[in-house]
Amino acid sequence: MDFRTFSLSISQTKVARFAQELAQGKIMSTLCTRCGKRYYPPRADCSACLGTEMEWRPLEGEGRLLSFTKIFVPPEHFALPQPRMPFSSVQFDPCPVGIVEAEEGLRVMGWIPKGDVKKLRVGMRMKASAVTLPDGRLTIVLEPL
């Protein structure tokens, strides 16, 4: 699975396996075998001890919602094309995004499908999971526990 299926722009990285695991339904972190520091997002190299021997570890992804937003003015990869019918507009109802603090303080960003910003609360318990979208893109969603 091409890493670009997740990242939208970059396919060449030493942690491209992250995308393959996402496609299998797993969110992976890396663990430095020299100093024990764990990374999410995964890294191929340790910035704590400069070691390069890493092990892949699955992430449970359960924890507290640190913050969330709903972005109504999206960037180019997410913006709607103009409708071709004159005098017409398309209604845009974006999906909220948030950050969950999972095990060992690792933070996971993800979409909150059907999330209502009036009902979401900082501190609520959520779980991050891997998802393959209908168009083949790989991503992560956060759902209330």
Binding site: F6, S7, L8, S9, I10, T13, P41, L66, S67, F68, T69, K70, I71, F72, V73, P74, P75, E76, H77, F78, A79, P94, P96, V97, G98, I99, R107, V108, M109, G110, W111, V117, R121, V122, G123, T139, I140
Partner: protein, 385 residues
């Protein structure tokens, strides 16, 4: 250590400048700056150019374009980049040129031409200024990042959307008095509160503008400064600090840690504390960013930023006037130009030339410039004689 002063300032009109190119915007600010200093370009030793984005300028080496257009060859030009803090990093680089003895007079230019590309493209370029690999795939934009910060600050300290809007009301009021501002008009609290949501809970008037513009300052060594200017403004303290690329890896979402560290270094170098600052230009790319700046620069206790603006303490007659030039919010935020524009404004204040926006007897000024969501922060302290 050698002392370095600002001896000339120049500022172009900020706005949607569809009449001018990157190089032409630069020319306006540079000629105004040289005129202010009463110096010719031949008397300048080197140049530092702050331009944040190759993607905005749609070319490689945009700094060579602007250097060429003012006809500064064969003298040296250094390009500096630090996202939204680019301009302050250019000022710091100019200072380093003189403090090292390499040069006696240095022209520092900040410029950005952001409106040549469409709004979704500009939003994408800036969104990928977060973490292009790990965070952009979730549709992150700059308003999105600061919305995450705002939501967390509201949950932790009880800051309200109304307090955020009060920052916009203040900055638009002062922007209405600044002829160089992009949006020279006042905004009511009601209008700010009912404007459309850009990234919940941030609304249109919580966001700074996508702007074209240029600003320039001329720096000189102590000896040359005394020859050139009757009112040199001294750079008394410089602090630069950094933090993680990804917002998810920050120790706290409600503090810009690099601001605290850069401020600590700059205050120490200048031998002052936050209560000694008479006027400040802080990085209000979003209204929540100004509230964080109040707290992280030490103008109030952590969590009290919302109450500081509600009490109007950051107006001209308050305890610490902040962004009385309109800030990024109303003046506009042409990335590379912003930090230099802050230095121009503080210099005006310390020279007593800010007109209706003048802080009485201002002697010590501070500028605070945040790159991205706090990946890099520059704090500078300025003093008059």
């Amino acid at each position: 250590m050698k002392r370095v002063a600002i001896v000339g300032i120049g500022h172009g009109k900020f706005g949607v400048r569809s009449d001018a190119s990157l190089r032409e915007l630069t020319f306006e600010a540079v000629t105004a700056c040289l005129e202010d200093a009463g110096l010719s370009l031949q008397e300048v030793d080197s140049m530092v150019t702050g331009i944040a984005g190759d993607e905005f300028s749609i070319s490689l080496q945009p700094s060579a374009q602007v250097h060429d257009y003012i006809g500064f060859h064969p003298k040296p030009n250094f390009r500096v980049e630090g996202a939204c803090a680019t301009g302050s990093m250019a000022l710091r680089t100019g200072w380093m040129n003189i403090a090292s003895g390499l040069a006696d007079v240095v022209l520092v230019v900040g410029v950005e031409k952001m409106t040549e590309v469409s709004t979704p493209v500009a939003t994408g370029i800036m969104g990928r200024g977060g973490d292009a690999i790990w965070e952009y795939p979730f549709g992150m934009t700059f308003p999105g990042y600061y919305a995450l910060i705002a939501q967390a600050h509201m949950a932790e300290y009880g800051t309200t959307e109304e307090q955020l809007a009060m920052v916009a009301v203040k900055n638009h009021y002062y922007g209405s008095l600044n002829p160089f501002a992009h949006m020279q008009k006042e905004v009511t609290l009601e209008k700010a509160m009912t404007s459309f949501t850009v990234a919940h809970p941030l609304k249109l008037y919580d966001c700074s503008l996508i702007t074209d513009g240029a600003a320039a300052v001329l720096l000189a060594s102590e000896e040359r400064a005394r020859e050139i200017s009757k009112k040199p403004v001294w750079i008394a303290g410089l602090g630069l600090a950094t933090d993680t690329m990804r917002i998810t890896e920050r120790e706290s979402l409600t503090t810009i840690r690099a601001t605290r560290e850069a401020a600590r270094i700059a205050y120490k170098m200048a031998g002052i504390g936050p209560s000694d600052v008479d006027v400040a230009a802080v990085h209000d790319c979003f209204t929540i960013a100004e509230i964080l700046a109040y707290e992280d620069l030490g103008f109030c206790e952590k969590g009290e930023g919302g109450r500081l603006i509600a009490a109007k303490e950051t107006y001209l007659d308050g305890t610490i006037p902040v962004n009385v030039d309109g800030g990024l919010k109303s003046k506009g935020h042409p990335l590379g130009a912003t930090g230099v524009s802050m230095a121009v404004e503080i210099t005006k204040q310390l020279r007593g030339e800010a007109g209706k926006r003048q802080v009485k007897d201002a002697a010590v000024g501070l500028s605070h410039n945040v790159g991205g969501t706090g990946q890099v922060v520059a704090v500078h302290i300025f003093r008059r004689e």
